[in-house]
Amino acid sequence: MSLVHLAQARSPWVLHYDASSCNGCDIETVACLTPLYDIERFGAVQIGNPKHADILLVTGNVNHKSKRVLRNIYEQMTEPKVVVAIGICATSSGVFHQSYNVLGGADQAVPVDVYISGCPPRPEAIIDAIIMGVEKLKKKWKEEEEPVERSNQGSTPERSTANVG
């Protein structure tokens, strides 16, 4: 494995998005950053900006409003990227699947790579999911040809204004 691939595997930057979760999974996800579980030893830091992040952690169900937001955030992330659906609600809408406003899990809005079920999943399981995400990321790094440079000047209005109701 070349130095570049080694570096890519050891620096997964994580972005956490809550798409209408009850916050149980969010609390467990943020707990991964605390000294007891410490995801930073794998090089992961929680970055608040999709343009800087590699791994998108989605918690909670997707409804019509959060679908637009989730899609917007996903499109702003630069390649290669991986989506991890945390909790049974993000996987397949859990106990809320018959609710009138729930569209389903995170895969209704974005392509998901890793699913982890649980209500909420333990932080150890979440760390496991992030590591699985890193493994998928490694495969995507190997497949990618050359880094692409793109300007946002030609973007459609739908994308550039994050107009979320």
Partner: protein, 280 residues
């Protein structure tokens, strides 16, 4: 002037800066009771960023980012070749203003907030650097940085209050709590990401590398306070660095107004008293 040494200094500064950042994260982690990333983590981050896709909003932003790096390197070369300290301060200021302009070059309001905060940080930290230039002139008779190697007693002994003021603004220049208002050295979340909101990929890598060079420049400023046995200066710089780490882990981020008030009251005040003691 040994150009080979200067060349080694310029090429080695990013590596040394990156290593110091890595040690910073490791020590911070250990102080917080966790394992922390490996010491070479910043290099992994930058290599990954260089390989990632890049998006940018316009070419002005890219230009200002290159300007940020370029002027930072100019400031480093001026310092390493022991040139005029005031010109070095101006080069450093040009560099920081380039960063502010890079933040303003996009339409993102988060970026503008970060740039506004960065401007106030510059406003808070520059006066003490200018006072240090005055102290240099009073101690050595000229503004040339090389003068510190020729004087008998180190600058620290005659200007202890100024040294305290420099330690105060070191927190701002190193982007550590309580004064890490604009963009923190750690991955503290900003308003989205402050100045670097619209940077990604290789331009973010450039931003990181310039931070590393900035760290070396800032530690060299501390080194100048005891330059005569050079190892004493290096120990002083590393000591200040570790003190900053401790302060970072002890304090939370303060408000912008508190930062400006504290640095202008204490920084200005202490430096002024020290300088006036020698002038009067």
């Amino acid at each position: 002037m040994n150009w080979v040494l200067v060349g080694i200094g310029v090429l080695g500064a990013p590596f040394l800066g990156g290593l110091l950042f890595g040690i910073d994260r490791k020590v911070t982690a250990r102080l917080q009771g966790r394992k922390g990333p490996p010491i070479v983590q910043p290099f992994y981050d930058v290599i990954k960023l260089l390989a990632k896709d890049t998006t940018y909003t316009n070419r002005r932003q890219v230009f200002y980012l290159y300007s940020y790096l370029l002027w930072m390197l100019v400031a480093l070369i001026l310092l390493l070749t022991l040139q005029d300290f005031l010109v070095f301060v101006f080069a450093l200021t040009f560099s920081e203003v380039s960063l502010v302009l890079a933040g303003f070059a996009t339409k993102s309001p988060y970026s503008h907030v970060g740039s506004n905060r960065e401007m106030l940080q510059i406003l808070a930290s520059e006066p003490v650097l200018v006072f240090m230039a005055f102290a240099l002139y009073l101690a050595t008779g000229s503004f040339l940085t090389g003068g510190v190697f020729l004087i008998d007693e180190p600058l620290l002994f005659s200007y202890p209050l100024l040294f305290l003021a420099v330690l105060l603004i070191l927190t701002i220049l190193m982007r550590k709590s309580p004064f890490d208002i604009s963009s923190s050295s750690h991955a503290h979340q900003e308003v989205v990401r402050g100045v670097s909101t619209e940077f990604s990929g290789k331009y973010l890598a450039l931003f990181e590398i310039t931070h590393w060079v900035e760290l070396i420049i800032v530690l060299t400023i501390v080194f100048l306070f005891w330059a005569n046995p050079w190892w004493a200066g290096v120990l002083l710089a590393l000591g200040a660095y570790f003190v900053e780490l401790l302060i970072d882990n002890t304090y939370a981020r303060l408000k912008l107004s508190s930062m400006v008030r504290t640095t202008w009251a204490w920084g200005f005040g202490l430096s002024l008293v020290n300088i006036l003691y020698f002038v009067l």
